[in-house]
């Protein structure tokens, strides 16, 4: 393989973690998280580099990564809106939030705006049912949402 795409910091943190597990394969999930943090998603070259580091076959990396919904195997927008529509949130009006976003951005759920700024997806239960409806904007939770609160939040993004 040519030049490394993942940073020095990635490799340092993985080395530190390695002693925590009796097998190196256990690093796979933490490594995919760390790689996605650097790249925003997991392009094939990155999956290969993670596989090479952990010493598992690239096919195995893909097989595992595709099992988990948090790993983006396709690029996502700069702002990734994950709106929970599971039981507690749907009882509290999350469908309205999703529809509002679809209209606002002119896309359907699951899509990204052409300018690559926004991706809107329906999410399964986020564990914030007491403050439903809830969503994640990238890594952060936003709870007790209304359409106007959502607008306020979105209109203040760069």
């Amino acid at each position: 393989m040519g030049k490394k795409l993942l940073s020095e910091k990635f490799y340092k943190s993985m080395e530190k973690l390695e002693s925590r597990y009796p097998s190196k394969v256990a690093l796979l999930l933490p490594a995919l998280h760390a790689a996605q943090e650097e790249w925003g998603w997991l392009p094939p070259e990155i999956l290969d580099e993670v596989g090479a580091y952990i010493d598992v076959h690239p096919a195995q990396v893909r097989e595992v990564a595709s099992f988990y919904t948090m790993y983006n195997l396709k690029p996502v927008g700069k702002y990734h809106l994950k709106i929970c529509t599971n039981v507690a949130c749907c009882l509290r009006g999350s469908e309205e939030l999703v529809e509002h976003c679809e209209k606002k951005f002119g896309i359907e759920r699951g899509e990204t705006t052409p300018d690559k700024r926004f991706t809107v997806v329906e999410e399964e239960c986020l564990g914030a049912c007491g403050t439903a409806p809830a969503m994640m904007l990238n890594d952060d939770y936003h709870e007790s949402l209304t359409v106007s609160k959502l607008d306020q939040l979105l209109d203040h993004l760069e």
Partner: protein, 424 residues
């Protein structure tokens, strides 16, 4: 215990309690000091006396589970905390982790010592990034203070604890799916036996416990199993419970109450101040979305393990979802079933295919394209899933379908015959 005194909920505000506060105000790490000077069998005996039943969903007695771990093992043993909190409607473990992370850490030190494990993991759902960071910080504090790591409290016992993040898969809440995920694999449940206590994480004897289960352990050790057991009002169900109430109530949230001390009605109308807009109650799901549904006439039942089991449902993770009269139950069941179809790992044919079929049929009924024979077909499919799969996700998907169709048959029939929703 005074009514105002709670094990957890009194700290569910403001911010994460740092080590400092934990030591000074909560008697932090006195229980682990005490436990590490005890005989391991005595700790397990105390846990048995406490009548702690696992808070993850199955309600398995914790002391008995710990007792399954073999004393001698050629392979390393592990203690794993299930912080996946993936059952829809559940949001209590998040509060424990973000407000009192040290209770969980101390509980794990005690549990690890009792079963002879030197390594532990907190498997936390990937979405809880903030809680994972707070736990990492608390763990570092505990290491620095000699409460974790090598030679804890100078006793010679060592325990390393690592936070391991999941990545978005409900099935990783199932303990053997979780263990596969921890090992860097797809989170597919394993064939049992062997049970984790025999061969769990990395092939070693392993205990998997829920966050709330482990976070109660310091209290049990400090105040005694009998004290904990007596907090509960029914036999064989000790301690307090963190009820997660969501949906159409005026004051949703986490309520901590002595186990067996309240009915669903009291929770909904007294603690949560009743239904939004003072509407009528339609349905209650008492134990996370996989628990069979109850009608408004069935809520005078005590919200605990045995009483709910007796009426054909379950307390599960104590996640109570409340539905008012103007919400369509067919739509709700469609959403629940879509979830299980989406989360089926696909290993078992009845679960993989059955969940998808049920989803399609319920959606067709919801949208007014149902057929007369659909209800019989739904019951037939759910009967062919329940009890016939590798893990309990199959039952989790079948239970809601059977109970919704049975208890709200008229609503389903109205959709089929009238082509639209009667409550809309």
């Amino acid at each position: 215990m005074e009514m105002s005194e709670t094990l957890f909920a009194q700290y569910f505000n403001e911010e994460s309690r740092p080590l400092d506060f934990y030591l000074k105000e909560m008697g932090g790490y006195t229980a682990s000091k005490k436990a590490l000077s005890m005989n391991q069998d005595d700790i397990i005996a105390e846990m048995k006396k406490s009548n702690m039943r696992g808070r993850g969903g199955a309600g398995f007695p914790t002391g008995m589970k710990w007792g399954f771990i073999p004393k001698q093992s050629a392979k390393a043993k592990y203690l794993v905390c299930n912080a996946d909190e993936s059952e829809p409607g559940t949001f209590k473990d998040r509060d424990i982790m973000r407000y009192t992370p040290h209770l969980l850490i101390e509980g794990m030190v005690i549990g690890a010592y009792a079963i002879g494990a030197n390594h532990g993991y907190i498997y936390i759902r990937g979405e809880y990034t903030r809680e994972a960071k707070l736990l990492d910080q608390a763990i570092q504090e505990a290491y620095d203070a000699g409460c974790l790591g090598k030679n804890i409290h100078g006793t010679g016992f060592s325990f390393d604890l690592t936070v391991h993040r999941g990545a978005g898969a409900y099935i990783c809440g199932e303990e053997t799916g979780l263990l596969n995920s921890l090992e860097g694999k797809r989170g597919e449940p394993r064939v049992k036996p062997p049970f984790p206590a025999q061969a769990g994480a990395f092939g070693g004897p392993t205990i998997v416990n829920n966050v709330e289960t482990l976070a109660a352990v310091p209290y049990i050790i400090n105040r005694g199993g009998e004290w904990f057991s007596n907090l509960g009002k029914l036999e064989k169900s000790g301690g307090t419970r963190l009820f997660c109430v969501s949906g159409h109530v005026k004051k949703p949230g986490v309520y901590e109450l002595p186990a067996g001390s309240v009915t669903l009605r009291q929770l909904i109308y007294d603690h949560c101040h009743g239904i939004l807009g003072d509407k009528k109650l339609k349905a209650v799901i008492p134990g996370g979305s996989s628990a069979p549904v109850l009608t408004a006439d069935e809520i005078d039942v005590v919200a605990d393990i045995e009483p709910l089991m007796k009426i054909g449902t379950m307390l599960g993770s104590a996640a109570i979802v409340v539905v008012s009269e103007d919400y369509c139950v067919v739509k709700l069941l469609a959403r629940i079933t879509r979830f299980y179809a989406h989360e089926s790992c696909g290993q078992c044919t009845p679960c993989r295919e059955g969940c998808k079929w049920m989803e399609d049929i319920i959606e067709r009924i919801e949208h007014g394209h149902g057929r007369e024979e659909d209800l019989a077909m739904l019951l037939d499919i759910s009967n062919n899933i329940a009890g016939k799969t590798l893990c309990a996700l199959g039952d989790a998907a079948a239970g809601p379908v059977m109970s919704f169709v049975k208890k709200f048959r008229a609503d389903f029939e109205a959709h089929i015959r009238g082509g639209k929703c009667p409550s809309a």
